[in-house]
């Protein structure tokens, strides 16, 4: 089955790597939504890191799915962070103010380290 995400667990953090450079068409977006749902459903209080290293293009529909996943993770008492978003895509997050909603790190190391910190000082 073609997958949009490939996941790996490091200790108690689930890292989901995007496998596609462009997540645009309806099928990909629906697949992504389902995969995100499944990942969150499989883990209680998930510590989820989405790695965007591969992603060159996305659409507002993808942003919507990320917000939906974020809400779901939070409702379950988990945490979700993003990392490795290309400089060319960062404006998309800034314009929509999603850089305020999501914690975004420039490297996977920084993001995983941030999970280790708890509470109010978890933002690096």
């Amino acid at each position: 089955m073609a997958a949009i995400l490939m996941t790996q667990s490091f200790k108690d953090i689930v890292v989901a790597y995007f496998q596609e450079s462009a997540i645009l068409n309806e099928r990909n977006i629906q697949l992504l939504a389902k995969e995100l749902d499944d990942i969150v459903d499989r883990h209680r209080k998930i510590q989820l890191l989405l790695n965007f290293n591969q992603v060159e293009y996305l659409s507002s529909a993808v942003l919507g799915k990320l917000v939906a996943t974020f809400k779901k993770v939070q409702a379950d008492g988990g945490r979700m962070k993003l990392c490795c978003i290309r400089a060319s895509l960062l404006p998309v997050f800034q314009v929509t103010k999603l850089d305020k909603l999501f914690e975004i790190h420039d490297s996977e190391e920084k993001a995983t380290a941030a999970f280790a910190k708890k509470g109010f000082f978890s933002r690096s």
Binding site: A22, L24, N25, E26, R27, E56, Y57, L58, S59, S60, A61, L63, G64, K65, V67, A68, K71, R86, A87, S88, L89, P91, V92, V95, T96, K97, L98, K100, L101
Partner: protein, 158 residues
């Protein structure tokens, strides 16, 4: 707040100065597959004509065109396969523009979320128009809101 561009400019009758070429003129029946194919065709043309000079410009162009086409299919024609989306792509020296027209009822600013309201941060939709408005240089919704003209002045020219 919906439109940005020149006051008094009529997007139904005119194009901004400097456009001398129609790069593409076509229509498709409202389906997401056709929509995707059209987007790919447009991106290929923009690349061939060297309008996308950086990764950032390409990402933003693709995003805006995708939003405009998807909006036409989804919100405009409501996925009705009998309804068409007309697309025209114009080229000029260091500038490109796209006109997207659907057969729907159109929309107004009232239909959109208030982006200043922090509550809308949590919405899982409604960001497309904001992104188009930010990344394109001129944006004109016209008629009943079922047509849009987007204009981009490539950084190459500046």
């Amino acid at each position: 707040m919906l439109n940005k561009g020149r006051a008094g400019f009529d997007p139904a009758k005119h194009l901004p100065d400097g456009f001398h070429q129609v790069l593409m003129r076509e229509f498709f029946y409202s389906s997401m597959a056709e929509c995707q194919a059209c987007l790919e065709g447009i991106m290929t043309l923009l690349r061939q004509h060297a309008y996308l000079t950086s990764e950032e410009e390409a990402a933003q162009a693709q995003l805006c065109i995708d939003e405009a086409l998807v909006n036409a299919v989804k919100h405009g024609n409501k996925h009705d396969n009998n309804k068409k989306v007309h697309v025209t792509l114009y080229g000029g020296d260091g500038q490109w523009a796209i006109r997207v027209e659907d057969e729907g009822e159109g929309f107004t600013a009232k239909d959109l979320p208030d982006y200043q309201d922090d509550e809308t941060l949590f919405w899982d939709h409604g960001r497309g128009v904001l992104l188009i408005n930010t990344f394109m240089d001129e944006v004109y919704y016209y008629d009943r809101g079922n047509r849009v003209l987007l204009v981009k002045y490539s950084k190459r020219k500046a």
